[in-house]
């Protein structure tokens, strides 16, 4: 009985979300138009319309849309639970997140006062015209960014996470062998290897996959050709769920863009293009302080990357629009973070004049542009690239820089990483700890960016295939541990944090799938 109630609630929620969406109006339109068709009979109009919609692929589209909503639906909560609990059930986490947000907003505001730059200003007409003209080559602008600094860097965030404590958890009388050696000292439930073997079953030693079984020495007939054939079928069926399942074994390079678009349910129809154009005009009309932060970030990170420097212009086109996209605010229902508010000049203190700043509620940090860079490899059309990035952000990336108890949240990932290391590589962990080289200090930056900029592009995309396939970021923590396992021999020789950093400085030659497979399935438990 309870289950049914639960399902009904979910159905109601999904219907609520889809009502009034473009898909809804398309379906209505299609249903109305098909009434003219001869095969629709008045007696069984409902069934006939339904089968028409099924045959023309509209049912599949609806299915994909529902599937998408299920991904981002918050977990069912108790009837009397306040809305904060949907964002984050644990109060100490909520408090920590609020405290962190206060700090970064303060940092942003003080930078704004120091530099005398307003948070937002309307562009003069001349400047607007210039920007329209240079829209596709913003990388050639050389604004003076020397006074701007990133609002925060991953290592600042790490310090915050290290200080997290659950007041209800008494760890005072635990024996040292049971205690946690790492930096994260909160009691969250994270999966161990036996549990992960059940979840990541398609990565097993007995299952073929891209990243391993498409190696040059293995004839493509054995796996690759068949996998590509299957991929083409999945694409022709236009089935989100099937694409997601398929992605667990990796997406072929030639099909990846289409498959990801299917999994994320991102088309590139007229509405998307119009939405993007709207955002673009927002950028043209107003200049935000955040824009300078974005510029600085792109110049510091992606522009200096050996592979991604080519896409510099795209990054501005995407990120500047992203800052102005108020639909991103929807994801704060299930994000433990709350969008920062700032007051309009001259009207401080009054709640109604407090505006969300930036409009999308997301303050970029050092390295933020690296979330977009790998996607430029797959999508050319700015409006589609934008849709894909936005969807990836509201499904996954936001979890990497907000404090929450979610299993895909950065806190859980850090804890999982440390636990895996402690259980399976205790000698290494102990040694590094003794040398003052806590492993998380090195691995954190990889995980915050989901390894973007650290792995070679093709390897990164294979990793992100699995993030999409399993709808979880846990694989990122596993990879971090697997990297340490791989370089364990060299790491045992180091005697300082700097030396450990040097051993792990260059990950560009790593092959992620063999590392993951060996760590998950060949580790002796």
């Amino acid at each position: 009985m309870d289950e049914d109630v639960g399902v009904n609630i979910i159905i109601a929620q999904v219907c609520q979300r889809l009502k009034g969406s473009h898909l809804h109006s398309h379906l209505e339109k299609q249903a109305k138009e098909c009434l003219h068709r001869p095969e629709i009979k008045l007696e069984c109009i409902k069934d006939d319309v339904r089968s028409f919609l099924k045959e023309t692929g509209w049912e599949r589209k609806l299915q994909n849309a529902v599937y998408r909503e299920l991904h981002t639906l918050p977990p069912p909560s108790h009837t009397v639970a306040p809305p904060e609990h949907t964002k984050e059930p644990l109060s100490y986490m909520r408090k920590a997140q609020a405290c962190w947000e206060k700090r970064i907003l303060k940092s942003l505001n003080s930078m704004c006062t120091e530099l005398g730059v307003p948070l937002a200003r309307k562009r003069p007409v001349r400047e607007q015209k210039d920007l329209v003209h240079k829209w596709t080559e913003m990388g050639t602008n050389e604004p003076d960014l020397s006074n701007f600094r990133p609002v925060y860097a991953p290592k600042d965030f790490l310090e915050m996470l290290i200080s997290l404590r659950n007041a209800n958890h008494d760890s005072s009388d635990e024996a040292s062998c049971k205690s946690h050696w790492g930096l994260i000292q909160v009691p969250l439930n994270v999966k161990n290897i036996p549990e992960m073997r059940k979840v990541f079953v398609e990565l097993g030693l007995g299952t073929s996959q891209l990243g391993i079984d498409d190696n040059i020495h293995i004839t493509p007939d054995l796996f690759e050709n068949e996998h590509v054939r299957l991929g083409k079928r999945v694409v022709s069926e236009q089935d989100s769920a099937a694409a997601q399942q398929y992605s667990r074994q990796g997406c072929p390079t030639g099909l990846r863009a289409t498959l990801w678009a299917l999994i994320l349910n991102c088309g590139n129809d007229l509405e998307d293009v119009m939405r993007y154009e709207q955002l673009k005009s927002g950028v043209i009309h107003h200049d935000l302080l955040v824009d300078s932060l974005i510029y600085k970030d792109v110049k510091l990170t992606a522009s200096n990357d050996d592979y991604y420097f080519v896409f510099e212009d795209y990054l501005y086109q995407i990120l500047l629009c992203f800052s102005r996209d108020t639909t991103v605010l929807e994801h704060f229902i299930y994000n433990s973070a709350t969008p920062p508010k700032s007051s309009v000049q001259g009207k401080q203190g009054t709640e109604e004049y407090a505006l969300v700043y930036p409009p999308n509620g997301v303050i970029p940090f050092h390295g933020f542009s690296m979330y977009v860079a790998p996607l430029c490899f797959l999508y050319n059309e700015p409006s589609q690239l934008y849709r894909i990035f936005r969807e990836m952000y509201v499904r996954y990336f936001f979890r990497l820089h907000s404090i929450s108890s979610s299993p895909s949240g950065i806190v859980s990932l850090c804890l999982q990483f440390e636990k895996l290391l402690q259980i399976h590589l205790p000698q290494l962990f102990y040694h590094l700890r003794e040398m003052g080289a806590q492993p998380l200090r090195i691995a954190f930056k990889w995980m915050v960016r989901a390894f973007s900029g650290y792995l070679a592009t093709d390897q990164l995309l294979l990793l992100w295939d699995r993030i999409l396939g399993y709808d979880s970021l846990e694989i990122v923590a596993v990879l971090a541990a697997a990297v340490f396992a791989f370089r364990a021999e060299n790491l045992m020789e180091v005697t300082s944090l700097a030396a450990a950093e040097a051993v792990l400085a260059d990950l560009s030659t790593l092959k992620v799938m063999p590392l993951l497979q060996i760590f998950l399935f060949a580790t002796v438990i």
Binding site: E142, I216, T253, G254, N304, F309, D313, F377
Partner: protein
């Protein structure tokens, strides 16, 4: 010039001497460069550098030395040198065009229109001043197109400019802003006017060209190897036809880019070929990209065939060419230029390693140590592309059995498993085992 530049002199006991040379445990080399090739030669086990007046077995010379000394040198059978005597038939722009046009006519006559069309990878080119009238005719036929003027014999982007009006050439001829030396030279020097490719394939809004390495170990019969690695060189600035004046956009040579005002030397605007191949596959699918790379193979083969009968074949000679290829938006490859002395100066650590491997593998193919059987289809990172006929890939799989599907033995932009392949060769004398 001392006459004693010969490598191995003819003497009484010449046969004896040759046997001795073979039995000699080291190979004497000369090198006219101080960059990567010098490092590679020095590190090769059993190879010893010799001084100016001494005999040599191997010479990595520059073309200047070749011009002055090749004709006066007697080379014993085992001796190798890194250029063909008249390499310029392929690399000098006006000669290459002439040879290609002639070859195309032959193909059309002897084989047919379809085969001849395969030579249309060279943009319409005229030699100036000799073909000036033909050029003007063509120019008037398409008044809206853009043309590029290139000096015949210079490299690294020097002296190149774009134009749209015939008036621009007149101005250039009389241009007082050019340096004195240039003006004098220009009277003697010829130029080529080539139709500019106005729809290049852009990545991130930037133009790029491909540098590919082809090693020719013999012209008669034609034996050519294609290196798997290479790179795409990006222009630092964004492409737009409206800025013809800005030569930095249009020229993608690293040498020119280095002087552009916003050049960032830390960055090095190159992508390895593998990255480019993957990018194109992600955008256009595997099939389109395979077709593209077949077309690129075609550029190499036909360009080499066009000079095959003209180049003085000499068993002592081999040559490593650097081909510059441009892609247009329809994924058609265009041949821009062939370099007989591709730059070996590295632009980054990664580039240095790639060039070292390239040169090491070149020496493996040249095979002074006599390790190869002659039946190899791959040596290090080189795949045998043409051996007096097309070379097919081994183990093509069941689907090619009995079918007319021919799978060429080239892997440009694919994974370079050179280390693995080199393990199959005999260890070099004096080499530490891997």
């Amino acid at each position: 010039m001392s006459k004693n530049k010969t490598a191995g002199y003819r003497g009484h006991h010449s046969y004896q001497k040759r046997k001795e040379a073979e039995a000699r445990s080291f190979i004497r080399y000369r090198c006219g460069f101080t960059n990567t090739i010098q490092d590679v030669l020095r590190q090769r086990p059993g190879w010893v550098e010799v001084k100016e007046d001494e005999e040599w077995d191997f010479n990595w010379c520059d073309v200047g030395w070749l011009r002055e000394n090749f004709d006066h040198s007697y080379m014993e059978e085992h001796v190798r040198i890194c250029h063909f005597r008249n390499y310029y038939e392929l690399t000098r722009k006006n000669l290459m065009v002439k040879n290609l046009k002639r070859y195309r006519k032959t193909l059309e006559r002897e084989v047919g229109h379809v085969e001849a069309a395969k030579c249309d990878f060279f943009p319409c080119t005229f030699e100036l001043p000799s073909e000036y009238h033909l050029f003007v005719e063509e120019f008037k036929r398409n008044p809206k197109s853009t043309w590029i003027m290139k000096p015949v014999a210079r490299s690294q982007g020097k002296g190149i400019f774009l134009f749209r009006k015939l008036k621009d050439i007149m101005d250039w001829k009389k241009d007082g802003s050019r340096l004195e030396e240039q003006r004098d030279e220009a009277q003697v020097e010829s130029y080529v006017a080539q139709r500019y490719i106005e729809n290049p394939y852009l990545i991130g809004g930037r133009k790029f060209d491909l540098r590919v390495y082809v090693l020719v170990s013999s012209y008669l019969p034609l034996k050519a190897w294609l290196y798997r690695d290479g790179f795409a060189r990006f222009s630092n600035t964004r492409f737009s036809l409206s800025s013809i004046e800005d030569q930095y956009i249009h020229l993608t040579n690293v040498a020119v880019q280095k002087t552009a005002p916003d050049y960032d030397p830390e960055r090095g605007c190159k992508w390895p070929m593998q990255q480019l191949r993957r990018y194109l596959t992600a955008k256009h699918g595997a099939h389109a990209v395979e077709t593209l790379f077949r077309d690129i193979d075609n550029v190499f083969v036909h360009s080499l065939q066009s000079v095959q009968k003209v180049i003085i074949n000499d068993k002592h000679c081999f040559e490593l060419y650097g081909y510059d290829i441009l892609l247009d938006q329809d994924l058609k490859p265009w041949l821009i230029e062939v370099n007989a002395s591709p730059s070996l100066t590295p632009s980054s650590q990664q580039d240095y390693e790639m060039k070292c491997h390239l040169l090491e593998d070149t020496l493996h193919v040249v095979d002074m140590e006599g390790r190869l059987t002659g039946r190899e289809k791959q040596v290090g990172g080189f795949d045998l592309m043409w051996n007096d006929g097309p070379v097919s890939r081994e183990n093509s799989g069941l689907e090619t059995l009995g079918s007319s599907c021919f799978s060429p033995n080239t892997n440009l932009g694919c994974f370079n498993d050179r280390e693995n392949q080199l393990r199959h060769l005999k260890v070099l004398p004096g080499q530490k085992s891997a």
